[in-house]
């Protein structure tokens, strides 16, 4: 039988990894979206000037 303290420690570590990786991916999606939107805006402005 695994001790309670040890068991809780690994459970918390497991869920911390799950939540962190998932959150980082969602943030990366958001940042890439924002950057692409900015690029699109800039390109459209250049096209208008041309």
């Amino acid at each position: 039988m695994i001790e309670y303290a040890t068991s809780i420690k690994y459970m918390l570590a497991g869920y911390a990894v799950i939540l962190t990786v998932l959150a980082l991916y969602i943030v990366s999606l958001f940042i890439r979206w924002r950057n692409l939107k900015r690029d699109l805006q800039t390109l459209k402005e250049i096209q208008k000037k041309d």
């Binding site: 309670y4 459970m11 979206w33 699109l40």
Partner: protein
């Protein structure tokens, strides 16, 4: 780029609510397992992440087949989105599994059949992302990627059945365990309900992120086209 459709907004809200409900079920509804205690609770999200990871790799192979028939870039975008999201979910499954393994097996990692095939599967698709970046021509890249996902898909059933075919210490959730397996436990009805709810929740989250990633791919394609027009 069009704003988010209502269905996607609904899916965003549903994903968050389901995720919170799944966490609630894991920590408040599912009973504590007698031998492993709290660490067993990792199992619910571990298995759900592995499930959606494999689901995405299969979706990528299907998108690859469709691309080879239709030669439409939209299928390449779908394929890449499926691979990228599955890589994230499968990485979570591997990492969470390793953390569970430490108190259960005494080690974070051992080269037993399931862990080995899972690591190979992850590396096959990391290579896919890296190799794509080495090809500039979009059509050639899409054709190469489609064939790659088809060949890579061979790893999916091998990973899935590895614990059923070989003598392994990895427990089997559905089916008979190997005599060498360590960390088995009998699931009560509440544990089963929590597992299936987690599977459903992560399937919804997968669809939600998949949709967002496809939209990102479409936006990237739009930017790429404008850049090419500027250069000409």
């Amino acid at each position: 780029m069009k704003p988010q459709p209502i269905a996607l907004k609904v899916l965003n809200v549903a994903s968050v609510l389901l995720f919170l409900a799944a966490l609630g079920m894991v920590f408040l509804y599912a009973p504590l397992e007698a031998t492993m205690n709290y660490v067993q609770k990792i199992f619910y999200f571990h298995i759900a992440n592995a499930w959606v990871g494999m689901l995405g790799f299969i979706a990528a192979a299907v998108a690859g087949v469709v691309y080879l028939f239709k030669h439409d870039q939209k299928w390449d975008i779908i394929e890449l989105a499926a691979v990228e999201i599955s890589l994230v979910f499968f990485l979570i499954a591997i990492a969470a599994g390793s953390i569970w393994a430490r108190p259960s097996w005494g080690v974070y990692w051992t080269w037993e059949p399931r862990l080995t095939t899972a690591a190979i599967l992850e590396m096959v698709y990391i290579s896919y992302i890296l190799l794509r970046q080495g090809i500039d021509d979009p059509d050639r890249r899409a054709r190469f990627s489609a064939v790659y996902t088809l060949v890579g898909a061979i790893s999916i059933p091998i990973t899935f059945i590895s614990i059923r075919l070989f003598r392994t210490i990895h427990p089997v959730v559905i089916g008979t365990n190997s005599a060498a397996s360590q960390g088995n436990f009998d699931m009560t009805s509440k544990m089963l309900a929590t597992m299936f709810f987690s599977l459903f929740t992560f399937s919804v989250i997968f669809v939600n992120l998949f949709w967002h990633r496809i939209r990102l791919g479409q936006l990237a394609q739009q930017v790429e086209q404008l850049k090419l027009e500027e250069l000409q």
